[in-house]
């Protein structure tokens, strides 16, 4: 093997790598917060059978879970303008991520809500909490805690999936990688570095989310 590695050729583009990483993180953060919020709403509609929203969410969940993310993204970015809905690449990317995570988290959170023991709700009722207070203070926090590891995994999957947003020219980390290797022709080094960055981001996001779960939802030190 006569190939000579040249990693400094990648680090000449550190600015682009950092910018791409930052945008990937921002896209993931916005998508995670809004997607999980959408998932909570969907899970409530499904678990409480709130017609007609329960049916609408059921269709939405099946639609999203049974189609590729890239196609969803293309549909939003290239398809919707045909009916007059114009978006720039970031708006389309953010919307696609929220819609995608919203569907998966609807199903995940619903499982947590449906696992609530009946006695918990009766205890809340006997303390004169109304339905919304019961949900907000008694049902939702333990439900989220129960499914939190699954939600963390889904957010990581979504973060890795944002790499396809490079295909609509959203300048995130994969876009930066493609750009850098088209300049320095160092495909091995560039994708090696970017792979390592994704790996570290995935580990970091999982750790951070587990901490958030423990501190904010369980309120344990």
């Amino acid at each position: 093997m006569s190939y000579v590695f040249d990693f400094p050729a990648v680090f000449e583009h550190t600015d682009a790598l950092l910018a791409g990483t930052g945008r990937t993180l921002a896209l993931t953060a916005i998508g995670a917060v809004a997607g999980i919020a959408l998932g909570i709403v969907g899970a409530v509609c499904r678990a409480w059978r709130l017609a007609p929203f329960d049916r609408l969410f059921a269709v939405y969940v099946e639609l999203i879970r049974n189609t590729p993310f890239l196609v969803q993204l293309f549909f939003i970015f290239f398809g919707l303008p045909a009916i007059g809905v114009q978006m720039n690449e970031w708006q389309a990317a953010i919307l696609a991520v929220i819609i995608n995570l919203g569907a998966y988290s609807t199903e995940i959170i619903r499982a947590g809500i449906e696992a609530t023991p009946k006695g918990q709700i009766e205890a809340a009722q006997s303390l004169a909490l109304n339905r919304l207070q019961t949900f907000r203070h008694v049902v939702l926090p333990p439900a989220l805690l129960k499914v939190w590891p699954a939600l963390c995994s889904q957010v990581v999957i979504v973060m890795l999936g944002t790499s396809v947003c490079s295909q609509i020219a959203a300048e995130e980390l994969t876009f930066a990688a493609n750009f850098i290797q088209s300049r320095n022709f160092r495909a091995f080094e560039t994708y090696f570095i970017v792979t390592a960055i994704y790996f570290l981001l995935a580990i970091g996001i999982r750790q951070l989310m587990m901490q958030i779960g423990r501190r904010l939802i369980a309120r344990r030190p």
């Binding site: 023991p117 006695g119 009766e122 009722q125 006997s126 303390l127 909490l129 926090p141 805690l145 309120r219």
Partner: protein
């Protein structure tokens, strides 16, 4: 006037007629022990008093708050009626203190500091003042049940319903919970208990109510009722326990 009035109460579970016309008046400060075989309707009766079960006919009135069949907004009633459950039902994501504070904070809208002081006082009452920050999974069954009592008391109910509150406890933990209930009775709390602790019912109860097939079959002073059961069904029930 009676604090709790139950008039001609009927309830069906589908085709099963579980409460067949219950009339019961409970005075302020009384301790009522509801006994009977499983399926006799005693737990169902208890659960109708704070609206966890609906009913089909009749009327329940607690401290002037009337409920009618199939009523759904029962929050006013529930502020007057506390309940303690067989399975404790503490909220697992909240510490003992937060469990006690939750309803006073969000239902009574009590300021944080005041709710905290009240929660501390309630935990002191059940002998758990040092467990404010402990989570339910760090407490024994008896301690969890005492937190559940403190949680119900924090809402300052006029009546406390106890649904077999020692049945899920290991035998050695039963007494610490019964001791708390005994203190409450001594302070004049109105208590309605479904219980299998016959000795406790006899010692602490003011009135024993024996339920049989959805009716109040016999009722009266616990010592007398135990000593002289008037019906063969109660005699058989007492015999089956001893």
């Amino acid at each position: 006037m009676a604090l709790v009035r139950i008039d001609a109460l009927h309830k069906h579970f589908g085709s099963n007629h579980v409460l067949k016309g219950i009339d019961l008046d409970i005075e302020e400060g009384q301790v009522i022990a509801l006994i009977g075989r499983s399926g006799s309707g005693k737990s169902t009766l208890l659960r109708t008093i704070n609206g966890l079960e609906s009913f089909d006919e009749g009327c329940i009135e607690v401290d002037g708050e009337r409920i009618h069949p199939h009523e759904t907004d029962l929050r006013a009633l529930r502020q007057k009626v506390g309940m303690v459950f067989q399975q404790f039902n503490l909220f697992p994501h909240l510490s003992a203190g937060q469990n006690v504070m939750l309803a006073t904070r969000i239902v009574r809208k009590m300021p944080e500091a005041e709710a905290r002081e009240l929660a501390k006082a309630m935990l002191l009452k059940v002998g758990l003042q040092d467990k404010f920050d402990a989570f339910p999974d760090q407490l024994s069954g008896g301690q969890q049940q005492r937190v559940a009592i403190a949680r119900a008391l924090a809402m300052q109910p006029r009546v406390l319903l106890c649904d077999e509150i020692t049945s899920a406890l290991d035998p050695e933990l039963v007494n610490e919970v019964l001791a708390v209930v005994k203190d409450l009775a001594a302070e004049g709390m109105t208590l309605i208990m479904v219980t299998h602790e016959m000795r406790f019912a006899r010692e602490v109860g003011d009135k024993l109510v024996f339920m049989y097939q959805g009716r109040v079959h016999e009722a009266g002073d616990p010592r007398e009722v135990f000593a002289n059961p008037q019906t063969p069904e109660l005699a058989a029930f007492i015999g089956s326990i001893n």
